[in-house]
């Protein structure tokens, strides 16, 4: 409100107070211009008749400034309007014209209209500003997205593995450089063609890629689902494992070669060791059999020691060859129906010299006959004699090793054979490892001769190779039992039938 007459100002203040707006009064044009420098106004009420600088001059000055260029101006005048005045007023940018005395309702209505207009304009300005800001942010984000997508594409494009994106119609949507080189070396248009390699989401498929130019490649094809430009696609990576396979093949060949060399060495060593041992054996037995004349008692005794050691040496050579060969190419086992009791007795006879020398008795307990088992007779003998030999070697002088056999109590389709020694109970560690190759219980060097430690290892391999089971149990403080089972031969009546018959017998008795 710009008016040089204080009562007029007071009157207008009274009228406009009710609008709840910020009312600023100025008593001269100059003062008004000063306020206009500092603030924005919704509307200016400007008295025309003022000393010093009148309303028109003031309005002209207002319009010269950028800030107030569009601020609405309502002129107030006491004189009745003439055309000249009015024209001048509008020319200086007035929007309205009110005569004094100003009717309060009209003043209030006009001012509040301009206040509303100003509010709306402000809102519009703010809205426009925030829209501009949003637009700016969106633009920035799009730029970021484009940058990251560009990064992604670069990663795909330059990946050393071939990568193909295949859509749900199995058409190629994208293929990176490595993929194009691998799958479309002639530089034909590859994108859009049908993808003809096997793949399965979430899985790895191996495929040999035949190439007309030769040089087939072995591929490992891995597939995951992903989105690409807004649609679901299969992300197929093709890893060339031709080199890896080649290396694996070379390793395999080297291993085969090594095995072959070992076989040849074994065969040679076997021959070279056996002939001299056989010769010593032959002459010792010739002497012992009296074929070269009578022997004195001490000559006989000493020759028997030689004989026993030759036997031990022979069985060690057998074990060594067996274990090494068994590992390399599997055990030579020819199953047939076998009289297990006879096999056990033969095995005991084979170890007689050893047990006699160590002053260990071997007691035998079990039925005279059992149904035949399905096994290799030579191998069964070997298993039993290995177990007896082990037991004899570990039993203190003067004590006895017990061999016992029968139909397996838990499963009558099997025969169970056990050998119990009188050695100290095996510790937990030894029980776990007693069947390992070359395992020695305790300190073998301080403990006297115990053999190569192959016997139990071979026994286990042979029992398992004949569909049986082998295990050990220990009693405190002495006594370890080594037991094994072998299946009954179906020719001795089916195991099931035998089991039934046995159950029947038990019920009757």
């Amino acid at each position: 409100m710009v008016d040089d007459n204080p009562p007029n100002v007071l009157a207008m203040l009274a009228v406009l107070e009710g609008l709840g707006q910020n009312l600023v009064t100025a008593s001269s044009g100059r003062e008004a211009l000063r306020y206009l420098l500092e603030k924005d106004f919704a509307v200016i009420l400007l008295d025309i008749q003022m000393p010093d600088m009148d309303g028109f001059e003031t309005a002209a000055m207002i319009r010269q400034r950028e800030r107030s260029l569009h601020t609405p101006i309502i002129f107030l005048t006491a004189t009745s309007p003439d055309k000249k005045h009015a024209g001048l007023a509008y020319a200086t940018g007035a929007v309205d014209y009110i005569f004094k005395p100003v009717p309060p309702e009209i003043l209030r209505a006009k001012v509040s209209a301009f206040v509303e207009l100003h509010k709306k304009t402000e809102q519009l300005r703010k809205l426009t500003e925030s829209q501009a800001r949003l637009l700016e942010e969106a633009t920035e984000r799009r730029a970021e997205l484009q940058a990251s997508e560009a990064n992604y594409r670069t990663l795909l494009e330059t990946n050393i593995h071939a990568i193909v994106l295949v859509d749900s119609d199995k058409a190629v949507r994208y293929a990176n450089k490595a993929a194009r080189k691998l799958l479309s070396p002639e530089n034909e248009k590859y994108v859009g063609t049908a993808f003809d390699l096997p793949f399965s989401t979430g899985e790895t498929v191996e495929h040999t890629l035949r190439r007309p130019s030769g040089g087939d490649r072995i591929l490992e094809i891995r597939t995951e689902n992903t989105t690409w430009e807004g649609t679901l696609v299969h992300f197929v990576s093709l890893i060339d494992i031709t080199g890896r396979r080649g290396a694996e093949e070379a390793v395999r060949r080297a291993q085969e070669e090594e095995l072959r060399l070992r076989e040849r060495f074994l065969s040679h060593a076997s021959h070279e060791l056996r002939t001299p041992v056989a010769t010593v054996y032959q002459f010792v037995t010739i002497l012992l059999d009296g074929l070269a004349g009578e022997l004195s008692p001490s000559q006989r005794e000493y020759l028997q020691i030689v004989f026993r050691n030759i036997e031990e040496l022979m069985s060690m050579i057998d074990d060594l060859m067996d274990a090494t060969r068994g590992e390399a190419e599997g055990w030579d086992i020819h199953p047939e129906p076998v009289d297990i009791v006879l096999a056990i007795k033969h095995a005991q006879q084979r170890t007689e010299n050893l047990s006699r020398a160590r002053h260990v008795k071997v007691t035998m307990a079990g039925p005279d006959s059992l149904p035949d088992v399905l096994a290799d007779p030579t191998r069964v003998r070997q298993v039993v004699s290995n177990l007896i030999a082990h037991a004899v070697q570990h039993t203190p002088e003067g004590e006895a090793v017990q061999v016992w056999w029968g139909v397996h109590a838990e499963n009558p389709a099997y025969v169970c054979v056990s050998v119990t020694d009188r050695a100290e109970s095996l510790g937990k560690y030894d029980r776990l490892h007693v069947f390992d190759k070359m395992h020695q219980v305790g300190d073998a060097i301080d403990d006297g001769r115990k053999g190569l430690g192959m016997g139990l290892h071979i026994a286990k391999a042979l029992v398992c190779g004949q569909n049986g089971r082998i295990w050990t149990e220990s009693a405190a403080p002495r006594g370890n039992t080594f037991s094994f089972t072998l299946p009954l031969s179906s020719q001795s009546g089916s195991p099931a039938a035998y089991a039934k018959e046995k159950q029947g017998n038990e019920k009757i008795s």
Binding site: S270, H271, R274, A278, T279, Q282, L291, A292
Partner: protein, 140 residues
């Protein structure tokens, strides 16, 4: 007296085996290499041949094959006795016509049992072959 031809290149083993078989009542003939074995068997067929596979002058398998191919020697039973690994040669020798296969060192009783089965008893009615026999030196 039954005649056994031993084809064996190790002189010590040969001597031991000869003493043993002579004591059992057999007449022993020896050949140190393959060619001699084939020639001898052709001219004076023995009752049984004990053949070592690993002999010089031709692989023992070839000797076996030649013996079985010649009608004059084809019916002579051949027992293979070798230091070789049975896993590699046993099947082959039986296929070629050997009647038994033993790996050195062989148990004397088992070997004699096989010889008796295929060539008959050494000396008819000789029960004391193992006792007091005074072996003469091996004739070449």
């Amino acid at each position: 007296m039954k005649r056994i031809l031993i084809v064996e290149d190790d002189p010590d083993f040969l001597l031991g085996l000869s003493v043993r078989l002579r004591a059992a009542g057999y007449s022993i003939l020896v050949a140190g290499h393959g060619a001699a074995a084939v020639n001898f068997a052709g001219s004076k067929p023995p009752d049984l041949i004990l053949l070592d596979i690993g002999i010089p002058g031709g692989n023992g398998l070839i000797v076996l094959d030649l013996l079985k191919a010649d009608p004059k020697t084809a019916s002579i039973p051949v027992i293979v006795l070798t230091g070789r690994d049975p896993a590699t040669v046993k099947e082959k020798t039986l296929e070629l016509g050997a009647v038994a296969f033993f790996q050195k060192p062989v148990d004397n009783d088992e070997l004699l049992k096989a010889i008796r089965k295929h060539a008959g008893e050494g000396r008819a009615g000789d029960k004391g072959a193992n006792e007091g026999a005074n072996p003469s030196s091996v004739s070449g």
